[in-house]
Symmetry: C2
Subunit: 118 residues, 2 copies
Amino acid sequence: MTTAAPSSRVLAHPARDEIRLEGVLHALSDPLRLLVVRELARDDAGLSCSHFDLPVTKSTCTHHFRVLREAGVIQQGYRGTAKLNALRRADLDALFPGLLDSVLAAAALQADRSAHDG
Amino acid sequence: MTTAAPSSRVLAHPARDEIRLEGVLHALSDPLRLLVVRELARDDAGLSCSHFDLPVTKSTCTHHFRVLREAGVIQQGYRGTAKLNALRRADLDALFPGLLDSVLAAAALQADRSAHDG
């Protein structure tokens, strides 16, 4: 047998009605996680972890993705050996209309201001 | 002299351009702080700490208000011996248009859902 047991490949996600606003805001309150979410918002197909060229160790990166997944912000799943990440936009928009868009817009504005200041 | 030295009565606040989105989201990611912010949003005049009947010790309460102040979410100042708190709505709306309103709306929706579930 070369296939891993399903249990080792299934990642726990909160159901839509388990997603809490506080958890979502906490997940978005880290600069690196906010960067990841902005990137995912631009790509509906889902992105593999290796797509993100983040200035942290692999284990720190794994931690940040787990925080996003456990808060209900992203969906993580395997396609072959690659772990793909996608925003749970439908769930977030249904629960908290306009929230994700306003955070993304705020992050874009802040990034623009930083670019001009730099 | 019965008046305290100004330095002991002046509380540090970030200037508008020092307010960071990540800090604001972090400040709002706690259930108790979110409750305080919802209350402040309903009262433009500012509320004293004692207005909030929070299920925590005074020092925990002080901590939460400090997190909100240092993130730039609230303005704290003395009126006589009372410490008054007010939302920095103008600053937040200027920096991150729509963000505060969408968080407040999301918090209201979540509270409604919790009330119906209970």
